[in-house]
């Protein structure tokens, strides 16, 4: 009797010793054989399953399964632990312990038990009816308005702190799943996409292109103050000069050489376009560097799902030009 590999956590049985050296004669035979073998395997699983200690239940005996032995990949990355907030760091440094507070507290003003937070709460700032004037108070000042402003300031400070805490959490990758920070536009699930920053030159190029996309090619449009003239010159064809000076190699020769090189390289195999390979390599390096710069400090930046490897793999090596028709 062959040994079966049994994974109880997954309720799986595997028979590694069976091999079909010749394909079975007919389909029905194959099915029958499979069923037979399957029955033996399932019996083996049931043998181990039914001897586990079980608790009785109205529906049937319940057993506790061991954890599965076959390791399968996760579907989402492990959640990062919550980043400590500013207050938590401070409390840890000073040794301040957190004490549990009750929902109701005694209000000295009314002499009743009121709830701590919410409607009609204890020690509410707004409930104070009389504020006694102090020696250092200015005569025209409204103390109630002053109190309201101070509270507003406190609330704003808290919002600022909360934003700071969330930014810290986002930096270490532990942003809570239901929160999005608007300006950086991070997606809620899935990995971060590096935000694209458009530079001044790019914008100028695009603006120029848009401006020239008129019926007259942008020639008669009024230019705004400060706008640079269009980059593209009117001429689209370059003619060789009629009389040539003796330079390094005559322009006509250069021209024909260029055309010939292109033709030859198209029809030859195994020519590596060194220039193209170098630029491709540089681009990937640049992208990697850019993505590593503004990212978290965890070492998993290298192990993050690398989309690029899938895309570049079939193209790297011999360039397209090396293939013959």
């Amino acid at each position: 009797m062959a040994e079966y590999e049994i994974d109880l956590g997954n309720l799986m049985a595997f028979d590694p010793h069976r091999s079909f050296s010749s394909p079975p004669s007919s389909r029905e035979e194959l099915v029958k054989e499979s069923l037979e073998q399957g029955t033996k395997l399932v019996q083996a699983v049931a043998d181990t399953l039914f001897v586990l200690p079980s608790t009785e239940d109205p529906d049937g005996p319940i057993v506790t399964l061991p954890p599965p032995t076959t390791r399968l990949p996760r579907e989402k990355p492990l959640p990062k632990p919550k980043a400590p907030t500013r207050w938590e760091l401070f409390a840890k440094k000073k040794g301040i312990q957190k004490h549990k507070k009750d929902k109701v507290a005694f209000d000295e003003q009314t002499g009743t038990w009121k709830r701590r937070h919410g409607y009609d709460r204890v020690n509410d700032d707004k409930d104070v009816p009389i504020i006694e004037a102090k020696m250092n108070d200015e005569p025209g000042e409204d103390p109630f308005a002053k109190r309201r402003e101070e509270k507003k300031k406190r609330v704003d400070k808290q919002e600022k702190n909360r934003l700071h805490n969330l930014k810290q959490a986002a930096k270490s990758g532990a942003l809570p799943s239901h929160i999005q920070l608007a300006a950086t536009a991070l997606p809620i699930t899935g990995s971060q996409a590096a935000p694209k920053k458009v530079g001044k030159d790019e914008l100028q190029n695009v603006a120029g292109m848009a401006a020239s996309a008129t019926a007259s090619g942008g020639k008669f449009d009024k230019k705004l103050p400060g706008e640079k003239p269009t980059k593209h010159e009117k001429k689209y064809r370059k003619f060789l000069p009629a009389a040539e000076g003796s330079g390094m190699s005559s322009l006509e020769k250069q021209q024909t050489e260029k055309v010939l090189n292109k033709l030859i390289s198209k029809n030859s195999h195994e020519i590596l376009n060194v220039e193209k390979a170098v630029t491709m390599y540089n681009v990937t390096e640049e992208k990697k560097r850019r993505s590593q710069k503004g990212k978290s400090f965890s070492s998993s930046s290298k192990l993050k799902p690398n989309k690029k490897s899938f895309k570049k793999m079939p193209k790297k090596g011999s360039s397209n030009k090396g293939k013959s028709k």
């Binding site: 997954n10 309720l11 799986m12 049985a13 595997f14 028979d15 590694p16 069976r18 091999s19 079909f20 394909p23 079975p24 389909r27 194959l30 099915v31 054989e33 499979s34 069923l35 073998q37 399957g38 029955t39 395997l41 399932v42 049931a46 043998d47 399953l49 039914f50 001897v51 529906d59 049937g60 005996p61 319940i62 057993v63 506790t64 399964l65 599965p68 076959t70 390791r71 399968l72 990949p73 579907e75 989402k76 990355p77 492990l78 959640p79 909360r162 934003l163 809570p176 799943s177 239901h178 929160i179 999005q180 300006a183 950086t184 699930t189 899935g190 990995s191 192990l303 690398n306 899938f310």
Partner: protein
């Protein structure tokens, strides 16, 4: 300036939290869709798989032209769908002359493509074509058993990969406690050759045997088909390492309502719900109650025709 965006409704927040990565993962959802062209066979196969995984599968009905998982740019649609539906497994069915009845089984990690297995379906027989005693039919959502036969599953790389993907696809949730009476299905996979796998679903019939372990009998029930392995793509090494990371050992769960260890020893608090002394139904109806009822009945008959009285207690 940055703004904190949170969902205004709590329901949305709960849904988002359900999709957040968890320490210990619950079942993976499957997305079933098809590409440019499908055949009748393939439609039936996709429908069957959807029925097998009813609770945690989503089936798309439209055709998707731009889904080509094996090409470099063709997976963006799939990743988008996976993100939208929160599915980490997908089954894509396509039919072409070069690859007839093609099924691509794939997994995603962090909503990016993790690995793929492409199989062709041959000799498909649907559930309706099998005749069996309907009482044995496996219930939807029951935890299946798996039986893999053949050394090919260990030696041939494609079959190893296929085994892993099939296990992941049909496993369902990983449960700690299992009800032994609820074991009623098994997926049988036989490696007939290094490229062909015979796959079928059987119902389990437990028969009396002398010992506590019942005797197993298998009855072929569900869809049966041959998988011809065509292409496959293994996961990227770095991604694989990250995906196989297991959760760290969980800290001991905090025991509630227990404290005080030094002087008194372990002290626990027990909360008893309110005892409703007045409204507890008494087992024997007091005699006085019966008399009152009789009197009331007599009084009522004097005033008006006797109305139907509700029975107080069943005796």
């Amino acid at each position: 300036m940055m703004r904190i965006k949170t969902p205004t409704k709590k329901r949305i927040k709960r849904e988002l939290d359900k999709r957040a990565p968890k320490l210990i993962e619950t079942g993976k959802k499957t997305l079933i869709l098809h590409g440019t062209k499908t055949s009748n066979v393939l439609n039936a196969v996709l429908a069957e798989i959807y029925h097998l995984k009813r609770d945690n599968a989503i089936k798309y009905t439209k055709k998707n032209d731009n889904v080509r998982p094996f090409e470099s740019g063709g997976e963006t649609s799939l990743e988008f769908f996976s993100l939208k539906t929160d599915c980490s497994l997908f089954v894509l069915g396509t039919h072409s002359k070069k690859r007839p009845n093609n099924l691509v089984l794939g997994r995603t990690y962090d909503h990016h493509l993790y690995d793929l297995v492409e199989v062709g379906v041959e000799n498909f027989k649907s559930t309706e074509s099998f005749s069996y005693d309907k009482k044995l039919a496996p219930h939807i959502g029951s935890k299946p058993l798996f039986a893999f036969i053949g050394e090919g599953f260990e030696s041939v790389e494609e079959l190893k990969h296929l085994k892993e993907v099939l296990l992941d696809l049909f496993r369902g949730e990983v449960v700690k406690n299992l009800n032994l009476a609820g074991i009623d299905r098994v997926y049988l996979c036989t490696a007939m050759s290094p490229t062909k796998v015979f796959f079928t679903q059987c119902a389990i019939r437990l028969k009396k045997s002398g010992t506590t372990v019942p005797r197993i009998e298998l009855v072929e029930v569900g869809p049966s088909m041959d998988f011809v392995v065509r292409r496959h793509r293994l996961p990227d090494e770095g991604v694989k390492k990250q995906a196989m990371k297991t959760a760290p050992e969980s800290t001991k769960k905090k025991e509630k309502n227990v404290k005080g260890d030094v002087i008194e020893g372990k002290v626990g608090k027990i909360y008893i719900p309110d005892q409703k002394v007045g409204s507890v139904p008494l087992p024997n109806r007091a005699k006085g109650v019966k008399r009152e009822r009789r009197e009331a009945k007599m009084n009522n008959e004097a005033h008006e025709p006797a109305e139907k009285k509700q029975k107080e207690d069943s005796d």
